[in-house]
């Protein structure tokens, strides 16, 4: 690794030094293509974020693709009902690597105000690996922009080698997650234990 002081000194002289990893991640982070995909009112804020007033294009994430085959970011914007959850997982499976998930809003994180309903999934993290979660009901467009900047930070700092390398550089890991089936009262299984386990809480 090059010394940061030397790097900045060289930059002042008009010489730009970088590593392949930084260059690779710089390109990846500034071209995130989200999936055109809304489930509830959070999607309205997502639309607002991509339009002129908030202008998601400033962060290189304005190319909303209507097909999962061309997208690499899934913004789960809204309430995930139990009827919709298998389709969300299937859409995620159809996206090519590298792919990321933003859980937008209280419902996508935990079920939100509908948590105790009979037909609402208590958080998409029970089936999918969520990279960034945005609280809010619904979150403001600025919050979504912040989430995308957080995701870019995450991508920029991802090592291209080692155990935490992105999945598309790891042949042993496939990015497919089991699609839950419709059961008599709930989804089968009700959660993917490999992705989500109930956190152990200390109670008084």
């Amino acid at each position: 690794m090059i010394d940061e002081g030397l790097k900045s000194e060289l930059q002042k002289q008009g010489v730009y030094v970088t590593s392949l990893q930084e260059l690779y991640n710089w390109g990846r982070a500034n071209s995130v293509w989200p999936l055109t995909f809304g489930l509830a009112c959070c999607a309205i804020e997502m639309m607002a974020a991509s339009m002129s007033r908030f202008d998601l294009a400033r962060f290189g994430a304005e190319v909303f693709r209507p097909s999962p085959r061309q997208a690499d970011l899934m913004i789960v914007a809204g309430t995930v009902t139990k009827k919709m959850a298998p389709l969300v997982v299937r859409l995620y499976n159809q996206m090519p690597e590298p792919k990321y998930v933003i859980a937008m809003g209280a419902c996508a994180i935990s079920g939100g105000p509908f948590k105790q309903g009979y037909n609402v999934l208590k958080g998409i993290d029970r089936y999918l690996p969520v990279d960034v979660a945005i609280p809010g009901c619904p979150p403001r467009p600025e919050a979504l922009i912040h989430a995308i900047m957080t995701l870019q930070e995450k991508i920029r700092n991802q090592d291209l080698t080692g155990p935490n390398r992105p999945r598309h550089l790891n042949a042993e890991v496939d990015g497919e997650y089991p699609v839950p089936a419709y059961g008599e009262h709930d989804l089968e299984p009700p959660k993917n234990p490999e992705v989500w386990q109930p956190p152990i809480m200390t109670r008084k």
């Binding site: 139990k82 009827k83 105790q116 009979y118 037909n119 208590k122 419709y182 059961g183 008599e184 009262h185 709930d186 009700p190 109930p198 956190p199 152990i200 809480m201 109670r203």
Partner: protein
């Protein structure tokens, strides 16, 4: 528009076998409704739609209501002779009113600009006799709403062209909006439980080892 009493009288004149009650309403709006028997329900609805003075051509809303079994207590004062002295004693009679499912239709007239006339139909019980006539052949707009009532309450509409679940998935068993529906137990992670959720979440709490008492 005519009063409900006038409408009731005219329906009974046209359809002598119809059994109609006027259901009172104690809320400030006082919107009363017509309770009609299921057997004549379709013909009564057809009369309301086609009658020249009513022309109720628009069904704006279909609602399902679940009425579980209800215990009615009736207090009566009875004079009894106790130990040679006459006393007034309260007697409590308890009866159980069997439950039923109810479907409420709100009818308006676009042609004559009046309404609503509220129509209620009740099933025999909540278990096996949950059939009611479908009014979709009269008002096409009732199709999806009757499907929803079927999906969530289990009312079976005879004569409906396409009676399937609409909100829940096809494999779903049971009717989730009924008062006695038991939702799946998925309370394993409740960060801020309270009330009923706290009761459910406590079943998932780890059993704490009791502190040993030293003697």
């Amino acid at each position: 528009m005519e009063t409900l009493e006038q409408i009731k009288a005219r329906i009974e004149a046209a359809l002598p076998s119809a059994k109609i009650d006027i259901v009172a309403n104690e809320c400030p709006a006082g919107e009363r409704s017509l309770l009609v028997d299921a057997a004549n329900g379709f013909l009564i609805a057809k009369f309301l739609r086609d009658d020249a003075q009513l022309k109720l051509d628009y069904c704006s809303n279909v609602t399902g209501v679940d009425w579980p079994d209800k215990e009615l207590t009736e207090k009566t004062r009875v004079k009894q002779v106790v130990d040679g002295v006459e006393k007034e004693v309260e007697e409590v009679n308890k009866t159980i009113r069997p439950g039923y499912l109810e479907v409420v239709y709100h009818l308006y007239s676009m042609a004559l600009k009046h309404g609503p006339v509220v129509l209620r139909l009740r099933t025999e019980n909540r278990a096996d006799q949950t059939h009611l006539p479908s009014l979709t052949p009269l008002w096409r707009g009732a199709e999806f709403q009757e499907r929803e009532v079927y999906d969530l309450y289990g009312v079976i509409f005879d004569g409906h062209p396409d009676l399937r679940r609409i909100l829940m998935w096809d494999e779903f068993v049971g009717f989730p909006m009924r008062r006695d529906y038991i939702a799946p137990d998925d309370f394993e992670y409740e960060p801020t439980p309270h009330d009923e959720v706290l009761v459910e979440a406590k079943k998932h709490y780890p059993v704490e080892p009791k502190a040993e008492v030293k003697v």
